[in-house]
């Protein structure tokens, strides 16, 4: 029993050390990106390329997910709204859920899966094949050339992607509301803008999107740059990065939700 407890304690200790190490590495990534940006060394060409590759390429998957999410919210709430004759609240209900929770969280998870894992794999490959050291050997600071452009591209992609996702999900909800509950789009719009939803709700969602963007950028970059052990090491880094980012997204979601609760 004592031996079992000691082994458990040792494992917990190792996990704690690993957690502190991971958080420390992510903090260093963010510090490096901020420092390179403030020194004017964030490579503009790389930022543009990263935005096009990571950001623009994510729009189709964000749009297609958002349409279904908006529609499904209406499908799930339809029985309740119909029973109480509260179809006119459809716009408010859908808007509340989409703006404050579903839009940012699902977009964050989609971007984590597509962009974050891609970022970890790219940086991991660059690291294990000594290409990052190759940059440093050419007197090129990886913080300005590799880290800062990717961090900013992922944060911008998450925030802009969330805005797109929110708008498309609302359109999807209105469309399904029309066909399923026969709620006119104008009624949906009136519910949305009746005053029960305010700019604070949209801001709440955008704050989450920004926090998720920071988490995805720092986590995926840190795991990529820490990869070791050849191609299998890159695979391990991608897997660990995706899991870690997903957990951090929900942790940040809870943190932002608790610190800025709905009135």
């Amino acid at each position: 029993m004592v031996r079992f407890s000691a082994a458990l304690l040792a494992q917990l200790g190792q996990a704690l050390v690993a957690l502190v190490g991971a958080v420390g590495t992510q903090a260093m990534v963010l510090a490096a990106a901020a420092s390179a940006t403030l020194r004017g060394q964030c490579d503009g060409e790389e930022l543009r390329a990263a935005l096009l590759r990571l950001g623009l390429g994510s729009i189709p998957v964000i749009v297609s997910t958002a349409v279904f999410v908006g529609g499904l919210m209406v499908v799930q709430s339809a029985p309740l709204l119909t029973r109480f004759g509260a179809e006119s609240y459809l716009g408010w209900g859908a808007g509340f859920g989409i703006l404050r929770e579903v839009g940012p969280v699902l977009t964050g998870l989609m971007i984590s899966g597509r962009v974050g894992s891609n970022n970890t794999a790219e940086l991991g490959t660059l690291t294990v094949t000594e290409q990052v050291d190759g940059l440093r050997a050419l007197a090129i600071d990886p913080a300005g050339y590799l880290i800062a452009p990717r961090v900013w591209a992922i944060i911008l992609t998450t925030v802009i992607g969330t805005v797109v996702s929110m708008l498309v999900a609302l359109v999807g909800a209105a469309a399904v509301g029309l066909f399923l509950l026969h709620v006119h789009p104008l009624t949906f719009y009136n519910g949305l803008t009746s005053g029960m939803l305010t700019w604070r709700d949209a801001l709440h969602g955008l704050a989450k999107a920004f926090a998720f963007g920071v988490v995805i950028a720092s986590s995926s970059t840190a795991f990529g740059l820490s990869a070791s052990g050849g191609p299998p090491g890159v695979g391990r880094a991608v897997g660990a990065g995706v899991v870690s980012t997903a957990v951090l997204i929900f942790a940040m979601d809870a943190l932002v939700s608790l610190t800025a609760r709905a009135p």
Binding site: T125, T129, E130, Q131, D133, G134, R136, A137, A139, D141
Partner: protein, 248 residues
């Protein structure tokens, strides 16, 4: 710096899980080829990376072109790195660039004018026998071609110091001979100081002006090739002669 010490290391230590460099003292004179040899695990690659400023050593001094690298500011370190060209053991070509972009990259980052960049890239690729390869992707090259592109990229800025980690690893005998001839040509053409790690002792000895033998994190001996060969050290003799019997 021609003839003087371009690189000097004084009692350099570095440990990871265990000690790798145990008080390395080494010098390299201007315009010469220094061969760095030793059994696997001797610490050669770690030493080369320390000279290139790619890792922080635990103790000791590393002077590059008369300036201290250890514990220098990032700016000083980058300035010193700009005077070094390096070929990594696995070449480390940038996979997301073409061959031409790889070779041009150091010049682009230095803000050279496009016409000058184009001319120098063409010249360096011609020097390594890869004219017309500008638009090829690194993934489509053979191992030898990748190494030659790496050599071209290392030399394109005409740095005073070139560090080559196994420039002929895995190459056939003819390409190996051509590669070592190319290193001699670079020394003569650019006046650079070369430190070359190679397991191919037979090809390295004829081109090296000096030899440093490394074992278990220390330099056993540094000197001209005849001096090292005639030193009478049993470890060095066994290593250079490739015998299986002996202290190694």
């Amino acid at each position: 710096m021609l003839g003087g010490f371009v690189i000097s290391l004084d009692r350099v230590y570095k440990s990871f899980e265990s000690p790798v460099l145990r008080g390395v003292t080494l010098t390299a004179r201007g315009g010469r080829i220094l061969g760095l040899v030793g059994p696997p695990g001797a610490g050669k690659t770690v030493l080369l990376r320390a000279i290139a400023g790619l890792l922080d050593v635990d103790a000791g001094k590393i002077r590059i072109l008369g300036r201290e690298m250890v514990q220098s500011s990032d700016k000083t370190r980058r300035n010193l790195q700009a005077s070094i060209g390096m070929l990594f053991q696995n070449v480390a070509l940038f996979d997301f660039m073409t061959v031409g972009q790889n070779v041009a990259f150091p010049l682009v980052r230095r803000g050279e004018v496009p016409s000058e960049i184009e001319a120098r890239v063409a010249r360096e690729l011609a020097e390594v026998g890869l004219s017309g390869f500008e638009h090829r992707q690194p993934a489509g090259l053979s191992g030898g071609q990748r190494r030659r592109v790496g050599i071209a990229r290392a030399a394109v800025t005409r740095p005073p110091i070139l560090l080559y980690d196994e420039p002929a690893a895995g190459l056939d005998p003819v390409t190996t001979s051509r590669t070592f001839a190319l290193l001699q040509k670079q020394r003569d053409r650019l006046g650079s100081t070369l430190i070359v790690i190679s397991s191919d002792i037979d090809r390295l000895l004829p081109v090296a002006d000096e030899l440093a033998v490394m074992h278990e994190g220390r330099i056993l001996l540094q000197g001209t090739v005849p001096d090292v060969k005639n030193a009478g050290d049993p470890i060095i003799d066994q290593f250079l002669e490739g015998r299986t019997d002996g202290p190694l």
